[in-house]
Symmetry: D2
Subunit: 359 residues, 4 copies
């Protein structure tokens, strides 16, 4: 199991859905960065389940504790241990799950790979694993802001067939994104998305969607060709999130339909720096940031766990049906927004430190 990401800014996450707790160690964070739990909690709260009007009762959850690595509100340059206690330790009735692997979930593959798996919930494949990433991402963001004024904003750009208008990439903020529950800054599309999700929920079904992201003020020169091209690391980071099916940088798959003469980004002066007129490159050329906003998209599939009855088979191959009990998230994209931001921050922080070694 590869639970560590990064070369200099190294993040190691731990924790299953129903063990004592989850969290991360961030090793390689520079010293003397202002850091307390209050820098981390906001993004952690944004990733929490049940944030819509109907579910504020769960507000008390997922409080992070910094166990090491800071003193008097400053980082020491030593490993920062981050811990979030699990509320539900080993509860529930999962006897059915013991026999039937959930379709398109990780039950079957974990069982085959490890010959054992957490008896309840998704274990390590649970979305709770992303708590450690979000904690680490918040620290990465502090670093990026202090060193380079980097701003990272994600939003939901589609749910099912509903696509939003693109926001103004130069100005879009998290506050604007959070205006709608679905975290789509296009209010009209947001309303349609919420309707689709509501209907999907009523159907005991789930639906996929796309999260878009822009990273502004990224210094020129980040990314380490050949194998650690900036877009390659972003792709790995995003595709390492649960439920992701695709990644696009800049023009993405649409770019494959274009000609070079329309796709190429001509150089022009932008104030005192050489920039590009268009940004089909998505802010990266040759694996290295070029000073333009980094733009990418991440595809999330419909959640695998649904209330609808599905025909499937037991581990031993016997035909059966499965209908998940309890409440399940019909669409993950709104919660994925801070997680995507966190992974982007971790990638950029690591690349920033690497580049500083050579300046």
């Amino acid at each position: 199991m590869a639970s560590t990401f990064g070369k200099l800014f190294k993040v190691t996450t731990f924790g299953e859905s129903h063990c004592k707790g989850v969290g991360a160690i961030v090793d390689g964070c520079p010293p003397k960065l202002a850091l307390t739990e209050s820098d981390i909690q906001p993004q952690l709260s944004r990733r929490r389940p049940g944030q819509s009007a109907v579910s504020t009762s769960r507000d008390e959850k997922d409080h992070v504790i910094i166990q090491s690595g800071t003193e008097n509100g400053l980082t020491l340059g030593t490993p920062i241990s981050l811990y979030v206690a699990n509320q539900d330790q080993r509860p529930g009735d999962y006897s059915e799950m013991a026999k039937i692997p959930r379709p398109s979930h990780a039950d079957f593959t974990y069982q085959m790979k490890y010959d054992i798996r957490a008896s309840s919930g998704g274990g390590r494949a649970s979305a709770r694993e992303t708590i450690g990433r979000v904690c680490a991402g918040a620290i990465a963001e502090k670093l990026l802001k202090e060193y380079a004024h980097v701003e990272i904003v994600s939003w939901v750009s589609s749910v099912g067939d509903i696509e939003s208008e693109a926001p103004n990439l130069a100005t879009i903020t998290r506050d604007q994104v959070d205006q709608t529950i679905i975290r789509c800054p296009d209010a009209k599309a947001a309303k349609s998305m919420e309707k689709v999700i509501s209907k999907t929920k009523d159907d005991n079904d789930s639906i996929g969607g796309v999260v878009s992201c822009v990273c502004r003020n990224v210094p020129v020169g980040l990314g380490e060709p050949i194998f650690d091209k900036l877009e390659a690391l972003l792709a790995q980071a995003m595709m390492s999130l649960p439920a992701t099916k695709g990644f696009e940088i800049g023009s993405g798959f649409k770019g494959t339909k274009m000609t070079g003469s329309t796709h190429n980004d001509p150089f022009i002066m932008k104030g005192d720096r050489l920039g590009t007129k268009t940004n089909n490159s998505g802010g990266i050329q040759g694996g290295i940031s070029n000073g333009e906003p980094i733009t990418f998209k991440v595809a999330f599939k419909p959640p695998a766990t649904i209330g609808q009855e599905q025909k499937t088979a037991t581990y031993s191959g016997k035909e059966t049906t499965l209908a998940a009990k309890g409440r399940h998230d019909p669409c993950v994209v709104a919660r994925a927004v801070p997680i995507v931001e966190s992974m982007a921050a971790i990638v950029l922080a690591d690349c920033l430190l690497q580049q500083r070694a050579y300046l």
Copy 2:
């Protein structure tokens, strides 16, 4: 510069477009694997430029030499050094390039990152860098075949707007793929693609496309969650290739428009193993291979270097125009086919060795 990929099966590439030579070291290949240059040359020849009828005169190029790591046709378990001499060392007139960064190429970002760059050609960002990957990939394929009968086949699934019919994923072979110059097994689509490329060439322009890939007989259990999920490593590997803009596993972005009830892959018995009826997962669940074919797509943008005159600016920001001289590849996808296969093989070989450590 991060020129090493892999944890146990480790590939390090080297070489610019116009230095003495290019190649790779493969460290961590198991001992006693049958290996000579003839195992590597075929894929290397498939990636060569100018393989269509009009350009066979360049056939003599890119012969690989194994410099270490084998004896009497068997690997020793020691590093395998692979070398391909460059034919064109430091030639040509690149004085124009010294002043004008090519739009959407790596000239500008290399210059900004390193404050120096190879004076001619793309340097390390050149497609010649992929020679090392293809050599290493051929060795990875030998390993995968011997240990697990893995088969990897890529093909061109679209060029510009022309999309091909999907081939039979269970049977498609490289021979079938190589029936057309464009390496699209759908003969009708291939003809249209070739027309589009021909027209694009006449326009001194370029065009993008998509390469698809299937990996068959991949053992269940490969891939290391959390950060080294199999799809995350494939995404990194593919997005580390020059000119890539997107990656999709299984259903990809189309999967975001589906509901869970239609996207989920129900379990069914397939002979004596538990398989899935559909394969929207693309052969991977929870970051771990599930025994179904692994299927993914890679988006390639139109090549940046075009003969058409483009408005752009010099390094110092002065407006100018640039029209590339000489012959340039109007579409890279046909040549990308063996490169995609190679990177897939490297990822799978590394994951296979890692999984063996825990069996």
Copy 3:
């Protein structure tokens, strides 16, 4: 700060002397290994300060909690998070230390490297950091025992000028080692060592010593030449411990005075395996274990913190004197015994998993 060790069996430690707690994450431990806190606590208790008759009052300290990675007493193959709360969080009067770097301690270099340091105690350079290593080492030992019946025993072989007789390497046990407080199995030497330490303590001074170690039943073939030769990894592991000044494998520095004809270990049959008659190699040849016991020694300097008044200078270079207050360990070797065993176990476990990848 490089807080992670290992390639497949990866250990990441965290924690300062006076933060909330210390511990480690073990990532890459194989699944289905029997593991509870009771497997870890014994070694943790052996490393605890104050274990002699006079100090049993501190017995309650340093209890480990497994926070993730196991269920029903079995490892899941997921990261194992290990946590030990600090008893003394941010106490004490360290105002003097703020101005005067302790000679031969890490105060000065941490301050220079990080431009900040933990205000009290040794921070990350404290011996408490080794708690995480000992927890991880206990897990490594479980793995080594289950997979290969490996036995690792360390003891104190010298304190100051007092050298012990070598124990029987084939039979020495931890129980025998623990017969004396100083953990020297040569009872007579032990008595002399204890006298020397007692006198040193009375002098408000400290004294160095040597810890020896034997690893039995190590399978042939462990160690990864070139840079990860088994003795090189052991050397790194041991020299990464606080207060170490030297490392010897097999004949060590004495071997430099020998001729090849006396130093070489001739091959002979031992039961059904080819062994060596002597073991100047220390169980390793060409960086790879040869099936003989692995034997090495680690030099520990006298602890830097002493009660005696020392002439030294403040950070700003003003001459001053420093005499440490409170009780300080006059000799670390007895406590170092389980720590050396732990690091040896971590190295061997990692090499064992790597070798399994190629079998």
Copy 4:
């Protein structure tokens, strides 16, 4: 096989004793460093066998070629491929070696680990592997000199029982070291050493020795605690060299016999920096360089291959005798001098780059 060393300044070596060639790739060297073959050749020539008066006839050997990574005498920031052709490819009669593993050599362990090994010479365990390290080390030295005026000088401090007087660590130069064939700057001891070696040679035997090293002008702050303490990395680097049995930093094993009051290095002002009066620490405290000279020693055993007849056993356990044919090096320490310097340079260059990331 772990043939890569370093985190940012990464060195990967390749090559057996009798394959086409040996060498290394250096990835992560900063751009715009002046570098041609003439910067590398001197150290390479110093490591060559047969440099004494009697053997200058072999002078033509081991010429390095830079295959990539530089242009017009400057590094590009891209991988530097270094190649040295082998003169003796697959020659000689090694039929005896096929049946009898040489005592204390790597034949047996390679065979057991890999189930195959190079049929002639030491294969990858041969001293020729160090050619790649020396090439890379020369580049590391260029970097260290340009960035920080670091000076690294090694010498032979003992051969067998003959110990030299310590040279002046502040002024000793390579030229002074090279005044004697044995590379011991104490001329009287050198004479005795040469006599001992000469006698050993006459006896068809071999003898061990110790190489000492000082690194001057190392900036304060290098080394990454916890596991990558500077002395730990130096220990790994040195113990990864063939034939090494021990490593000491600063006071080494002698330090274990001292008391804290005599071992501690008091702080004093040295010009405008805070230094230490003594240097038992060997220039490192808490794993971090403190600005004083870094001093360490490396123990080399007597070479295993000797002309004397040895009683030993065949692979199948049959008693036999073995007497190596041909000329063999009776003592490796003189040739080890530049190799030790090279590994020290590689470690320091990597740590220097890492520290720059955080400045």
